[in-house]
Amino acid sequence: MSKKTGPTSDWSRRDVLKASAATAAISGAPMFFSRNAYGADFLNNPGDASTVTLGFNVPQSGAYADEGADELRAYKLAVKHLNGEGDGGMMNTMQPSELKGNGILGKKVEYVTGDTQTKSDAARASAKRMIEKDKAVMITGGSSSGVAIAVQGLCQEAGIIFMAGLTHSNDTTGKDKKANGFRHFFNAYMSGAALGPVLEKAYGNERNAYHLTADYTWGYTTHDSVKNTTEGLGWNTAQNVLTPVGAGDFSQYITPVLNSGADTLILNHYGKDMINSLTQAVQFGLRDKQVNGKDFVVIVPLYSRLMAQGAGDAVKGIYGSTNWHWSLQDEGSQAFVKSFGQEYGFPPSQAAHTCYVQTLLYADACERAGTFEPCEVVKSLEGHKFDGMGNGPTEYRAEDHQCFKDVLVVRGAENPTSQFDLLEVVEVTPRAQVEYAPDHEMFAGGDLGTCNNGA
C-alpha cells in the first residue's frame, strides 16, 4: 500500500490518499479488537455495571408529537423517582411494591431517547440503536399503534422487553401480541364497551353514524369496536371513510358528511388529527344542524386532555373514553399529579400516566424477579395484580399481556374552570363490563410465542 508513486504512475492523488487512509485504519484496528469480546447469558446484561439503561422511544415530530413530548416528561419523572430523587410519586402508593428508591436492583437508572417520527422504519432504527449501541435492557414508548406493533416485533426478535406506551389498537395485544411485549393502556374494544351504555342513555337507539377513521391499525380496530357497540344499540352505520394520518386539512372529508343523511359523526382520530378534524367539523357548523329531527352529534372514541386543549371550545359536550384523567381523586393519581405538576407546572396527560406506570411496573417486576433477565421479568409480570396506580385494582392478564382495569367515559366540560379542566368524568366503567375472552374474535389470530432473551 505504501508503494512510492512516481510522477509517471497512473495512481491518482485520491487513490494515494485513500490507500493511506485505509492503511491507517488497518494499523489502528487492534485498538478496537478488545471490544465486544464479552459473553452474556442474556442480551444487554448489565452485569456488574453500576447503572442500567432504559430506552424511551417516542414521537418527537409528526401528528402525535404532543403526546410524545408528554410521554418523555413522564419517563424522566419515573427515572427520577426510581433513583430516589423527588417525592417518589406513585412509588408510595403502588401496591404491592418492591421498589426501594435506589434504582433497579441497586443499579442507577439511566436513559436514552429516540424519535420514532411516527414511522415504523424510523422507530425500529431508533430502537435498534438503543439495543445495539446504548445497551438498553428495556424499550418503551408509543403513541401510534402501528409503530408500537413494529417496535414490539423488533423487541421480540432481539430479546428485549417492550413496555408499550400509548397504543390503543386491539392488535397490539391481539393479532400482533408478543411474549416480550406488555400493554398497560386500554384498547379500542374496551372503549367501545365502555361508551355503549353512556351513548345509549345520551343519544338513544336510533342514530345514523358516519365514521372518519385514521388509515392504520388503530383506526381500523377502533372503527370495528365502536361500530360493533353502536350497531348493538340499534344504530345504523352510514359510511366509513379512511383518512391519512397527519392529513392536516379534513374539510374534503367533512363536507360529504353534511349530505350523507347521517346524524352522528364518529371521529376515529387521535392527536393533531383529532384536533384538526373536530375543529373543522365544528367550524362547518355540523353541531348546529338538525338531521332526521335530531341534533347532530360528534363522538370521539379515544379522548385525551392534550387533544381537548388543542381543540379548545370545540370539545364541549363531546363524549369519548380515556384510560386515565388527572382529576381522579384516588391516592395514586393524586400523588402522580402532584409530583408531575411540581416538576413541569401542569397536570399529566393519559399518555404520560401510562408511560410512567409502565416504567414503574417494569422496575418492580425486575425487583421481584431479582434479575433483568427478560424471561424472568415476563414471568413476574404475567398475571401480576396491583393497585394504587390510578386505575384501581389492575391485572396483567397472562394470556395476552393486556392490563385489565376500569375505563373512564368522559365528556368535554361545558364550563371549564381552568385550561386543564377540559374533560369531566361521566362514568367509571367497571372492569367486568369491558373484559373479553383472550380468543375474542377481534383479538383472534395472534400467538404470544415464547419469550426471547436474546442469548
Binding site: 510522477p7 485520491r14 489502528g28 415530530s61 431508533s126 392504520y216 391499525t217
Partner: protein, 382 residues
C-alpha cells in the same frame, strides 16, 4: 477523454473493500460502530450507487426511486413468509420483482426527459406509495408494515424439515444468522460486489453510451443511435440495485413498511448522490454514510449529552452553548443537514468528492501540467 486504467480501478476497488469491511473499527470513535447503523450505511450505499448509475451517468433525475426499495422489501418479506427464511431466494426475488417494476415504470416515464421525466417517476412513486399504504393492504399490511408471523407457510423450510417453534424464526444464510454483525458483513460483501459491477458498467461501452446521452442526447440521436433502450436498461439496472437494497433491509430486519416508498425517501437518495458527488463512483456511498450518520446519531443527541460535552466550560457559557447547539441536534438534525447540503451545493457543486479533489490538488507538489492531467484522470476515474 483520458481513459482510466484498469490498474487504477483495481486499486480503487481494493481500497473501497478494505474501508467498507473495516467499518466496525474506524467508525468506533464516531459512535457509529453498531450493527444496525453500519448495515444502513451499506444498504443505502447500494441504493445510492444504483441511483447514480441512472442519474450520474445519463443525467435523468428519477424522483421516485424509493418505489423499488419498497418493492424489494415487500418481495423479500413475502419470500420469507412463503418460501424460506434463507436470504438468497429473498434477495433474488427482490431484485427480479423490482426489475420488473422498473421496466414498467421506465418504459412509460422514459418517453419524456428532464423535468417531465422526474415528475412522471414522482407520480408513479406516489401512486405506488398510496397503493401500498391503503389499497393493497392484503399484500402490504398498510401502515403497520408487513411482518413475519408464526402462522407463515415457509413451504421450502417445511419441506426441508426445519422444526416449527413457537418463537419467530430469524433470517439465515444457510444457517448463519443475518442480524447483528454477521448481517453487516453480508451487506458489506453485497455492497462491494454491487460497487464492482457499477464500476464495470461505468467503464464499459454501455457506460460510455450513457455518458454520451448525458452530454447531448440530441446529437446521439442524429448520429443514428436509438437512446431509449440504453436509458431503459440503465433505469432497470438502477431499479434492481434499489430492489437489492430493499431486500437487504428486509434481510437485516424482516419488516417492510409503506413509508419506505414515500417521496421523502426518494428525495433522500437524490440528496445522498448530490452530497457525495453525482457521477463519481464512491461519491454516492459517501453521501449515504453522511446522511444516515446524521439521521441516526445527531438525532439522538439530547440536552443531557450536550451538557456533558460542554462540561468543562463555565456554567453561563455552557448553558448558552447548549441552548444554541440543541437547535441543531435532536429533532433539529434536519436543519444541520439542510445547512450542510446548502454549503456543499454552493461551494462544492461536485459534492464531497470535489472537495476531496480540491484538497488533493492543494497538497500536490507536481508541476502544473501533470496536476491538471492527474485531476482530469481522477475525475474521469471516479
Amino acid at each position: 477523454m483520458t481513459r482510466p486504467t484498469a490498474m487504477g480501478d483495481w486499486i480503487l476497488f481494493i481500497c473501497f473493500s478494505v474501508v467498507v469491511l473495516a467499518m466496525p473499527f474506524w467508525l468506533a470513535p464516531f459512535g457509529a460502530d453498531y450493527p444496525d447503523l453500519m448495515q444502513k450505511f451499506a444498504i443505502f450505499g447500494i441504493f445510492a450507487i444504483g441511483f447514480n448509475l441512472l442519474f450520474g451517468l445519463t443525467g435523468y433525475l428519477s424522483f421516485g426511486h424509493a418505489v423499488f426499495l419498497g418493492v424489494g422489501s415487500y418481495a423479500a418479506v413475502w419470500s420469507f413468509k412463503l418460501l424460506t427464511m434463507n436470504i438468497v431466494p429473498a434477495m433474488i426475488f427482490g431484485i427480479i420483482v423490482s426489475g420488473v417494476f422498473a421496466f414498467l415504470i421506465g418504459f412509460i416515464s422514459l418517453r419524456r426527459s428532464g423535468i417531465y421525466f422526474s415528475i412522471l417517476t414522482l407520480a408513479f412513486a406516489q401512486m405506488s406509495y398510496n397503493l401500498a399504504y391503503s389499497v393493497l393492504t392484503p399484500i402490504t399490511n398498510g401502515e403497520t408494515g408487513l411482518q413475519l408471523t408464526l402462522q407463515d407457510a415457509r413451504s421450502l423450510d417445511a419441506m426441508a424439515g426445519i422444526e416449527v417453534t413457537r418463537s419467530l424464526p430469524s433470517t439465515t444464510l444457510f444457517g448463519i444468522k443475518t442480524s447483528g454483525l454477521p448481517g453487516f458483513y453480508i451487506c458489506a460483501v453485497v455492497l462491494i460486489i454491487a460497487f464492482f459491477i457499477a464500476m464495470r458498467i461505468t467503464r464499459s461501452p454501455f457506460g460510455t453510451m450513457l455518458r454520451a446521452i448525458k452530454s447531448n442526447q440530441t446529437r446521439m440521436s442524429y448520429t443514428g443511435f436509438n437512446t431509449r433502450p440504453y436509458l431503459l436498461w440503465a433505469f432497470v439496472i438502477s431499479g434492481m440495485y434499489a430492489g437489492l437494497a430493499g431486500s437487504l433491509m428486509a434481510v437485516t430486519d424482516p419488516l417492510a413498511g409503506a413509508e419506505r416508498m414515500q417521496w421523502t425517501a426518494s428525495g433522500e437518495v437524490v440528496l445522498m448522490t448530490i452530497l457525495g458527488g453525482a457521477g463519481t463512483l464512491i461519491g454516492p456511498f459517501i453521501g449515504a454514510v453522511f446522511i444516515k450518520y446524521f439521521e441516526n446519531i445527531f438525532s439522538s443527541f439530547n440536552e443531557q449529552i450536550l451538557h456533558r460535552f460542554f462540561d468543562a466550560l463555565p456554567d453561563g457559557l455552557e448553558n448558552v452553548l447548549v441552548s444554541v447547539t440543541s437547535l441543531f441536534v435532536g429533532e433539529g438534525w434536519h436543519l444541520t443537514l439542510g445547512l450542510m447540503f446548502m454549503i456543499v451545493v454552493i461551494f462544492l457543486p461536485g459534492g464531497i468528492m470535489e472537495g476531496v479533489r480540491r484538497i488533493g490538488k492543494l497538497f500536490s507538489r507536481k508541476p502544473e501540467k501533470v496536476v491538471a492531467k492527474a485531476v482530469e484522470a481522477s475525475g474521469a476515474q471516479s
